[in-house]
Amino acid sequence: MRHITDGELHAWLDGALDLLPDGRGDEIREHLSRCSACRERLQDEEEVRDRSSEIMAGLQLRDLELPTFEELRERAAAPEPGASVDGAPASGARAVRLGGSVREEGPARYRGPLKGMPLAWAATIVLALGVGWMGGQVWQGLPPAQAPGGPGDAEPSTDRGLGPSGDFPGDRMGDGAGSALPAPEPLGGDAGAAAPELRRVLDPGSLSPGRPAGPGVEALVGVRSIGAAPSLRESVLTGAAPAADASPWPPSLAREENRFTESSLAVPGLKVLSVEWEEWLPGERALHIRQLLSVGDTLELRYLGMLMGMEPHEEVRIARKAEAQDAGVDRPLSPTVMEASLPPGWNQVEMRWGRGWLVARAPLPEASIKALLRSLR
């Protein structure tokens, strides 16, 4: 009979010989009774095993307050975050209410990377970013005479350090028509009154505490979504559908507006775990949204080429790069870097998203990831 392997010796030491296949456990017991060499090795391996256990047990977590079983059971009995009260799948717009239930769970709740920021706010940001971003396409489609805005509301543009015309670098990225249009500006009245609240929520500094606050998020979301459509802004804040008669758009565009309201950068029905900025490569900043799939797996969505939270000169550079991408010349390198780090069993799907790119990763087949992404549009 052959000698015993190190692995088999450890199985012996761990009391798991019976798990070995084909009666190998009995063979090992018999072999050990008559092979002194293997018995010596067994002693060596026992020392390794004991020393390893000693190292692992050397330090204990101390003074860490753990929740009681009753607290966990109570939390499990509470309405599940990510599902609505009536059992229907949650949409991005409902996340505000659902996040509220999370907030009520007290100090025991799971805290994402935006510590101190309830996930409802994060979901609001996701929705608001989506509305603000995609809203740009509406403005581009508006004839100049119908573009909302008043002459006295150009302040946010100057906040960003842009030129007196108030145009956005993002408008330069498109087909050229955008730059010929006047920049969307706040309607004034209640829209202006609500702006500070969104600005507080969308302060880039609150998204990423370690990063100096930049004007991009405020400009793109605070100005575009609030200023262009009060009803849209209302829906972002409350999660409610905007009133049909409140739309400032012509009928055809009002339909588009509703579509944007229902859109989200997060997949509807999946709990948003975190929203954060990432930079895999210099100059290629991505908005990273993590959502919970079943059994603890996660869906990662990364939006590249979003001109938010950057310095103005950086935005212009990225905008020019995006123009080149439109022509099919360039492509961000980050997806390639991300793909190289894919863990076993994970797949990555890339697609154009507006003027940028969406990179989705999950431990799912590509077809399943694509099916999830279809619900974003």
Binding site: G7, V48, R51, S52, F69, R73, R111, P113, S208, P365
Partner: protein, 185 residues
């Protein structure tokens, strides 16, 4: 990009209800779960929070094999955490500032010593391959070979081999660091 799935825990079968004493599961498993997560993430509070999240999900899902399910889900979540570049940086910062924000030993020199030991353990574990480390941490958390096999998708007969390799490498790496530390002092 291959198409395959990671380890999936045994879920609840339709129509069958397995009676599980979840209070018992909590008593026997929760601390191990926190410990397991802590040694993957090196952030005690985050490990505790994630363990809570996993356990609450288990209470809702009621898996047939609670321990294997808990550790599979915990492992998936921790793996996802580890992939986040920004968060990894934050964890390192937390590790550096643990003496300021975490549990406070009474004496400053004790705090430094403890922090050095944590760092040494972390580095020793990092010397292992991902799979070896995972199996060793699961064993350390009290899982049986059969449970480890289920969580790690390894054959039960391969667990001993993996553990033997992981233990030896851990002891070697830790020993090298001890020597370095002694030479440094």
């Amino acid at each position: 990009m291959g198409v395959c799935h990671g380890a999936q825990p045994a879920g609840r079968r339709r129509g069958t209800k397995v009676s599980v004493d979840w209070g018992e599961v909590y008593r026997n498993t929760f601390e191990d779960l926190v410990r397991f997560l802590h040694r993957k993430m090196w952030d005690p509070e985050r490990a505790r929070d994630l363990a809570q999240e996993v356990f609450v999900r288990a209470l809702r899902f009621e898996p047939e094999e609670p321990r294997a399910w808990l550790f599979t889900v915990a492992s998936n979540l921790a793996r996802d955490e580890a992939r986040s570049v920004l968060r990894r940086k934050k964890h390192l910062a937390l590790l550096r500032s643990e003496a300021d924000g975490g549990p406070q030993p009474q004496r400053a020199d004790e705090a430094v010593l403890e922090q050095e030991e944590w760092e040494q353990l972390r580095r020793a574990l990092e010397a292992l391959s991902d799979r070896d480390r995972e199996v060793l941490l699961l064993w350390d958390a009290g899982l049986s070979y059969r449970e480890i096999a289920e969580v790690s998708n390894l054959a039960p007969g391969a667990i001993g081999t993996t553990l033997a390799r992981a233990r030896r490498r851990l002891v070697e790496a830790h020993g090298e660091m001890e020597k370095e530390r002694a030479a440094h002092n």
